[in-house]
Symmetry: D2
Subunit: 259 residues, 4 copies
């Protein structure tokens, strides 16, 4: 039997506490958005996962070396205070991803320091907040992240994110969304970076209760399973090696060419 | 100054002549769909292109070895009579693409023998014909095929094509379309096969005058330029080679390993 | 606990029985190449797999509908008699792959009908049989197919396969091999076709005992695990759907745009 | 007739002036490595290009806003003093690439700040400097960067760069190199980032006269042509847009769904 996947759900935890948003957030997300995301993972995966949360207002944003050393997959939701995330923590997370930790970047996390660093692009996009219906279409039906959800997933109300989304060409495009206004968005994308897997998923906004949506919870649970490191990860990022050529028991390379 | 690109516009030419469709087609496409596509290329590219047409009802479907030997880029529109296309002609076109000829597969050509052979998949999709508005969004803004057109291109009325579109992951995804019904479709996709370039573009249906749309004409013209072979193509498909290892003026491979 | 993966190891079984090769084959592969491949999978995966073999000389090449209905992953080794494989069986295997069955194409299987059909290219390559040492380098260290093997894998003696290998750009490039003569080959490549996964792996030739090599056995076992269908596969290839637009509990697409 | 491509060849210019290397560099590269690269481009492309050089020891490393405003393609060679490159200049170059400027990263530039920022990975690799022969094999024969050079290109003596090379999966893999020691390296890779094209090419080291090699000069000239921006670039990186949905002359999205 496999060990449970160790997930850390990271939340900015700003809207939950801001004067402007506190009331609505308490209604939609009484345990915070991170709380809802964590609960959804546990609901779907049960014993297959152990989930903790961490928030930006904690020391080292809750992402100490010790926490990361015990994290297989990190989920990241941020929005209003990207700029206040400590560069040292970003660097630590970045190295851990390159060493094999999976990472899920959620919704407005597209503008987080860690996502921009992993992508190398502006990660900008179009947006409009007018409670559009979002349809999430699956364009890779055999992909593990897309199992067990309808085609399309229907989200009654959600902020619109639209193209052009300035990302590198995804390694795999899993979901594309359409919106009431007619816009389109590559809403589920995967990449590998170093030994780590990255999944960006756009549904989920502080003004809509999207993280209680069972299909969205299922996608996130699938993605956690997909993003976990392969067996026996060392979490050491790839490093320069200067070494002698390998020794073979057979003929050396080149001997054939000389004869 | 570069030589003009030699384009052959291939048309099924069935709806144009069928009892059911003849009248409407004569109104929308008095010179046939192939005639409209050819005219659009000439309008946009002028002296940069020499265009001929070929149709399925001609001997060898108009695609003799001599015609293909003088074709840099072939465009393919078919729909109702895919099954009647001679396998020998398909084989000839296939070999020519692998040898470097560019090919544009248009709309219902997704089910042509040549496209299915190039892709290796069913190439099936969802569809519904209820005069949806189609919006064609550009997800690769620096791609040469996407130059000079608005974002999105608006097609007032068009048949809906939707996901899942069963194709191999495109090498480059250039356009994604949305429709009145909320559906989504990867409407502009590129692949390389052998030495040849393939572009699939979905807008264009016999019941709507899409090929007179200036933005669609521009995309097709861009695609013809993109798909043309690199300088000095030999049009010989890749072939098995069994030969001695290369001789070097320097040290042989392996000498370093032995010291 | 997961059910065992149901694997069918398909072998051409020609060299094993030909007058020219029989003696050497009996020494290298007393149970046939298919027997050695099957044994390797069982050695590595134990209870995680149930393996059967099928050969070209059997009725329907051993690949009846009933056999395929009970196969999660098929491995394919052929060489001298590709042309004699029945097109109806190729079609049956093709449809099953598109419906979700995994397939591993081994070595000279690059020229099999099924691989050329899945790829859409010539699948040609360079080759030279002079007992080169082959080094198999891993260029995707976190890929599940590459776990548990040294970097590089060393094969003391093997036929050389070299570039240009005429395949579509792989979805994932896992291994690249070098040879005594200095040549290079993309020796481990993945693609998705329909709902099925395809892995091509070049090491393995009838004149060398490569399928007894523990690292090669491990790669094949990893690939079988990787290629198995996602949970609850239906093995139905993607098919055309013509249906009404989805009904939403929320606002219809377009309502926002109209207000 | 097209305007000439405006190329800026950037050189670290450290080895040329260091006490340790000065003498050998003067022999191999009397005009500096940047001088040799610039001369090669002019030799191959003639009037098709205007080339200037810029070096790290100049104010703002020679890469002022004015210089970048007049650069279509930048080539980057650095090695010993990556850390001393001003972050503000890196940021300026990064933004310009995202806005459409092409960039060629050469050899030890794999560890430059700009390349690591564009890739999001460690960009580490294996290396060994023992005057290996390098063979540069073309795995994309129709790619414009690979035109007009032999298969393989033979470099008699060169530093070895080997896998694992920690980069994102290339959009296109053009060249793979093998070395005397049997190692392998993805030596020619392309990516898009924002509106800009990136090409990494590994041949070229300060201890070997590789930039005088006519085949290497041809590859660099091809790459400059490939990397130039599409017509009428605005050099503005993609930016967030918040705007009302588009207005259509046809039916609004959603009207079909409601009927």
């Amino acid at each position: 039997m496999n060990s449970p996947i160790r997930v850390t759900v990271w939340g900015e935890n700003h809207h939950e506490n801001s004067e402007r948003d506190r009331e609505g957030m308490a209604e939609r997300y009484p345990d915070g958005m991170h709380g809802a995301i964590a609960a959804g993972l546990t609901t779907v995966l049960g014993d297959g996962v152990t989930v903790r949360t961490a928030t930006q207002d904690q020391p080292e944003h809750g992402l100490t070396a010790e926490v990361l050393d015990n994290t297989d997959v990190l989920t990241w939701w941020g929005h209003a205070t990207h700029g206040a995330v400590d560069d040292a923590v970003v660097e630590r997370v970045h190295q851990r991803v390159l060493g094999g930790m999976g990472i899920l970047i959620l919704h407005s996390g597209h503008f987080s320091k860690i996502f921009k660093r992993l992508m190398g692009t502006t990660c900008s996009l179009q947006w409009r907040n007018s409670a559009d219906t979002e349809l999430v279409w699956n364009v890779s039906p055999a992909h593990p992240i897309a199992q067990g959800v309808p085609h399309p997933i229907v989200i009654d109300e959600q902020e619109m994110y639209g193209e052009f989304f300035d990302i590198p060409e995804p390694d795999e495009l899993v979901f594309i969304s359409t919106f009431t206004g007619g816009e389109v968005f590559r809403s589920g994308c995967t990449w590998r970076r170093g030994k780590g897997k990255v999944f960006y998923f756009s549904p989920g906004d502080q003004e809509y209760p999207v993280y209680h949506h069972p299909d969205i919870q299922r996608v996130l649970a699938n993605a956690v399973q997909w993003a976990q490191p392969e067996p026996a990860p060392d979490f050491v990022p790839p490093q320069v090696v200067n070494e002698a050529p390998p020794k073979f028991s057979g003929r050396y390379i080149g001997e054939g060419a000389q004869s």
